[in-house]
């Protein structure tokens, strides 16, 4: 009521002047808001419109009063007590209740306050987001070292990476020791192979007496026990996994994890070798050991061979074959030696094979009876391991004219054998000589060249 603003009704069509406020009202010519006052341009407010008849017209016609008289609205708006009139019914103010009052400036200020609060909330949210993001970024990014620089303490991610690395290094050390053990076991096995092979070879000699054979057999049995034990120990260490279960940043399959540890192991050994090589006085034995370890780590074939070996109840000959295969798979010096020895040709045996085959055509070959009975006489041999070919040169002598057929018999025997193949002799010449007793002898030069057969040859069966 203190802020009540009195509105005078329009007089003679003039816009009503907004009355000055009373002393209690703070604003003196406020731009007030009244009902419908949003339309400032409109003449008067709702009340005015309610009360308005026409511009310049009167207002509310009151019963019993002169219609031309414009009633004082303030009188109408006064409370019954304030009203100068008496006993004329409820006033509009009574009907409408207290007039809502709107203060534009106050509203604006309230709006600004509210907006400010919302802005602060917004900025606060951004700040919280920055803090949260910053905190987790600093803690969970191993590349960030600010905490380490400032507080001498790594962040959580670095701590985690560091602990992972420590475990990996420890496991790699263990893997190196395991492979050193494997290397020692393989070397021990290597030392056992040659004597064992020799014993088994002696044991297999067809001309051996039963007593001697029994002796060699018991020797072989004793040696194979140690070989079996070594193989089982090798299998035990080879079965140990290189990797250890760890939490990693990215998901990896078990094969990838195993590969990772394999690469770590190799890397450590390579670094060791570099250090040994760059030392002031490099020790060739130590370098050789580490070099052999590196080759062993890379040798997946040897590992597979050893893990697949089942030597229990295996015959000695099969054990020898297995050991030769294991040695051939290796990458140390003895393995290289084994490969060279396997590729080496046994020329003594080849010469004996030639003699056996020539005897199929000439059963008296090599007895020194050529001058008397003829046959074949070879004066030179040439063996070439590079090409795998053999040449034999000599003469043949027959008592009849079928010298060439005699030569073809030898050619067929060589081709038919499983030891040689690819014989090629296409030019035949012969001479005839008449002896004093009238007998004729036919001679022909023989230069045969053929190859060493290493596998099955279909011509072995075709030539009859």
């Amino acid at each position: 009521m203190d802020n009540e603003i009195k509105i005078t009704p329009p007089v003679n069509g003039q816009t009503p002047n907004l009355p000055d406020s009373t002393d209690e009202v703070e604003e003196k010519k406020p731009e007030t808001f009244s009902l419908g006052a949003g339309e400032k341009k409109q003449e008067g407010g709702i009340l005015d419109r309610l009360l308005k008849k026409s511009p310049g017209a009167g207002t509310i016609a009151m019963a019993g009063e002169n219609a031309s008289k414009i009633p004082d609205l303030s009188e109408i708006l006064k409370t019954p007590k304030q009203s100068s009139g008496s006993g004329s019914g409820p006033s509009i103010s009574q009907l409408l209740g207290p007039q809502p009052l709107f203060n534009k400036a106050a509203f604006e200020e309230a709006y600004k306050k509210k907006l400010k609060i919302c802005q602060n909330i917004f900025y606060g949210a951004i700040l919280i987001a920055i803090i949260a993001f910053g905190f987790f970024y600093v803690q969970l990014n191993p590349q960030i070292t600010i905490l380490n620089d400032l507080f001498d303490k790594p962040n959580i991610a670095s701590d985690f990476e560091h602990s992972n690395t420590e475990v990996k290094l420890k496991q790699t050390e263990l893997n190196i020791v395991n492979y050193r053990l494997i290397r020692l076991l393989l070397d021990d096995l290597s030392l056992s192979i040659d004597p064992y092979v020799k014993v088994v070879h002696e044991m297999g000699d067809k001309d051996l007496s039963d007593e001697n054979r029994a002796t060699w057999t018991s020797l072989a049995d004793a040696q194979v026990v140690q070989i079996r034990q070594r193989l089982k120990e090798l299998q035990k260490y080879y079965r140990m996994p290189l990797s250890i279960s760890l939490v990693e940043r990215k998901v990896m399959t078990s094969e990838e994890v195993e590969t990772q540890f394999h690469d770590l192991l190799k890397q450590q050994l390579v670094e060791q070798k570099q250090l040994l090589t760059q030392a002031k006085e490099p020790n060739p034995d130590e370098i050789r050991i580490v070099d052999n370890l590196i080759k062993l780590v890379d040798n997946a074939g040897l590992k597979t061979k050893i893990l697949a070996a089942r030597v229990d109840n295996m015959p000695h000959e099969d054990v020898v074959k297995l050991l030769s295969e294991i040695r051939a798979q290796g990458t140390d010096e003895l393995s290289s030696v084994q490969k060279i020895k396997t590729a080496r040709l046994d020329w003594a045996r080849r010469i004996q094979d030639i003699h056996s085959i020539v005897r199929q055509a000439d059963d008296l070959y090599g007895q020194g009876l050529f001058k008397d009975v003829g046959g074949f006489l070879f004066s030179s041999y040439r063996f070439d391991a590079t090409t795998g070919r053999i040449s034999i040169s000599g003469v043949t002598k027959t008592a009849n004219n079928k010298t060439f057929s005699y030569i073809t018999k030898l050619i067929d025997a060589i081709e038919k054998s499983t030891e040689f193949k690819d014989i090629d002799f296409r030019s035949f010449t012969k001479t005839v000589e008449e002896q004093k007793d009238g007998r004729k002898t036919y001679s022909s030069g023989v230069n045969l060249e053929f190859a060493i057969q290493t596998g099955p040859d279909p011509r072995d069966e075709q030539v009859k």
């Binding site: 604006e108 709006y111 907006l115 919302c118 802005q119 909330i121 917004f122 606060g124 949210a125 919280i128 987001a129 949260a132 993001f133 987790f136 803690q139 959580i156 991610a157 985690f160 602990s163 475990v167 420890k170 050390e173 263990l174 020791v177 395991n178 050193r180 020692l184 070397d187 021990d188 290597s190 030392l191 040659d194 020799k198 250890i244 760890l246 939490v247 060739p284 050789r288 010096e333 003895l334 290289s336 030696v337 490969k339 060279i340 080496r344 040709l345 046994d346 020329w347 003594a348 070959y365 090599g366 020194g368 050529f370 006489l377 070879f378 004066s379 041999y381 040439r382 391991a385 590079t386």
Partner: protein, 207 residues
Amino acid sequence: MMQQDSIKGSTIYILIAGIIILATAAYSFLQYGLMNDYMKATADNATRRNSVAAVLSKRTDEFRTFAVAQSEKQKSLARNISEILPPNENYTELTRLFDEFFAKNDARENKIFQSSLRYGNGAPAKGMPGIYALPISMNIEGTRDNFFKFLNFINDSGTVDTARRLMAVDSIQLNFPDGGEVVGNAKQMINFTVEMIAYYQTPKIRK
């Protein structure tokens, strides 16, 4: 109008703030979970490291024990390897080896005589990384019996028990000067020229 603007402005701020807070909450929740996992894994790694260290200690002791037991064998093996595959050409030692063989097997009734010996230049052996080949050529005159002894001498080379330099015959040319081959005569003289290879390890010092 002002009222509508005011509603719009504050609403937008509140909306965006709400989205930011929700996103921050979600992000923080996920990252906190990850952080927890890292911390737990770090703690577990300490246990794992200790466990591996214990196994490593035990395995190292096993290795040392076995290595000591094998030390003599290892020395013998290293020695044998250096004989079988010496670290360089070492043709002087090879010459002495041949001389010893021929001297040992030359007898009045069973002759063998090395008339010439020639060495080529060493080169990497094909298909054998870390191994070099020294070509050798020699002319020999000897009995059939000694000829086969010589072939066995080469064939037995490279074994751990003989510890003889690894060699292989590349080619042999045999000639029987007394007419032709008589297989049954062990004393028949043969002239033979042998081309062979003696192997050695890749030299550490290049010439």
